[in-house]
Symmetry: C2
Subunit: 294 residues, 2 copies
């Protein structure tokens, strides 16, 4: 059972930050939630929805909280950290919900100063396809992975405390290094997003793009669902994890080379081997994840 | 209102052929459905389900039908056409449900002889993610596209009649050349399948593949859903449409080159332009198709 926490400040009150606030409230672990946003209207909306108890547009309002969660696109973290640092109380715990970790860690080193040991980098794996505080819900993190990527200098007690709170939200918490995190999510999440964006863009911009897409069906809809994700958020992720993504794109290009060679030589057995191995691996994965077989 | 047809023979009684039979029965347009399969057990299952009225494993049983539908993976069409040709009645209409058209047309030219003008190549766009006669249903083609790709020598009356029957199944019928068909579906369907297969295979075969995939979530599940499609069916499609697919893979590789260049140079505006254009095109497409916005 997690100990109660006094004031939690959510900097960036959207789906991710809002759901964290609601989950802590539902677990009866928090006294007061301060929401900080860039636009008054968005924090007012969060206040009206009961997601937060106090709305602010100046990040200084988060300075005396017991826990601060940075929950915004990773490209905006540096500015928020920099603005908050001078106002931070000596005991405030800090964490984030950024989709990439090495760059967030670099920004934290740059801007958090003495508070660095109390910063626990985190990535909750949830909700990337929705957005906005209106979509926030207390059970968003139920059975979802939350990855913590503590640094050598991170306080063990701070890691413990942040892990405890995420578990109280229903999450499965694991730890790895920031570099490992970025490699893993570069492969299983960032790469598919870039591929989906590239493929939709390639077809849509052809002279007959509209007619082409008119014949696309349910398979295409599922395959490209992630291409409807926020361009701003994914620009930030792509820039933050550019080295891993360059490598992954190159690797996939080499797999395409292999496919083209099999097509050129009419090697049906070779193609079927790749398709069959992919199908088997995916069916296996669905099972391990507890997803319904398709 | 379509005129009734006497006997329809379905060669390959799975989801596609079975659903065509059920739809014609529901429309009260058919007197008798003969099902031909390679295995006795599978045609017996179709008989038991009431999808067909007579079960056979010898394709000669389809020879005197008023309409024959070839509904099997495109790699098996040649054999079926060749086996049926000597038994064909002089009035029998022929059509198919193959996912590629240029190769099916080539096989038809090779094997159908004098019956060629009565062969109407067709591709119903439905159900590629399921399979088996157990999944067959009368409404599978409701509001789905069916593409006819008649040849110069195809009888206009035969095209008319086949179109009429597909419309009676609820389908939206359109016509194009076999080459146009293969280019369009190579782009919007076959290419995404190859990409999904390649990406799953690439990650799964890595030494840490199982751990990697353990962190993949709902976005990955949707993106890779088509990688659970039948390897045999997609081997045939890939081989049949190899030229278009080689070209499409090369084009996508070039779009990856462009992404890698933007990542390398840290061009956030360039990345956001591509992501934003893809997102806008997809939202537009969802709307045009009458799909729910996501």
């Amino acid at each position: 059972m997690a100990a109660r926490i006094g004031t939690v400040a959510i900097v960036g009150v959207g789906l991710i930050g809002g759901s964290f606030a609601l989950a802590l409230k539902q677990a009866n672990l928090v006294d007061r939630v301060v929401g900080v946003g860039r636009r008054q209207a968005s924090v007012d909306a969060a206040l009206k929805l009961g997601v937060i108890d106090h709305a602010a547009t100046d990040v200084a309002a988060a300075g005396s909280a017991d826990l601060v969660l940075f929950a915004m696109p990773v490209g905006q973290m540096a500015e928020a950290m920099n603005a908050l640092a001078p106002h931070l109380a000596a005991h405030t715990l800090l964490t984030d919900a950024g989709s990439t970790k090495q760059d967030v860690v670099a920004r934290a080193r740059q801007h958090l100063g003495e508070a660095l040991p109390r910063f626990v980098p985190a990535h909750p794996i949830a909700g990337a396809e929705q957005s906005g505080v209106e979509a926030a819900r207390a059970n968003l993190y139920q059975d979802r992975d939350v990855i913590l990527t503590p640094l050598a200098e991170t306080d063990a007690a701070s890691v413990q405390r942040v892990a405890e709170l995420w578990r109280a939200c229903g999450a499965k918490v694991s730890e790895m290094s920031p570099a490992q995190h970025d490699e893993i999510f570069g492969a299983v999440s960032h790469l598919p997003h870039l591929v989906a964006y590239a493929l939709v863009n390639m077809l849509a911009q052809r002279p007959d793009g509209e007619r082409l897409l008119g014949f696309a069906g349910a398979g295409f809809r599922d395959f490209t669902r992630i291409a409807s994700s926020s361009p701003e958020m994914w620009r930030d992720i792509a820039l933050a994890n550019h080295a891993v993504l360059q490598h992954e794109l190159t690797d996939l290009q080499q797999h395409f080379d292999r496919l083209r060679e099999l097509l050129r030589s009419g090697d049906g057995a070779g193609l079927e081997r790749i398709f069959g191995a992919a199908r088997a691996a995916r069916q296996d994965w669905l099972k391990r994840k507890g997803y319904a077989q398709e």
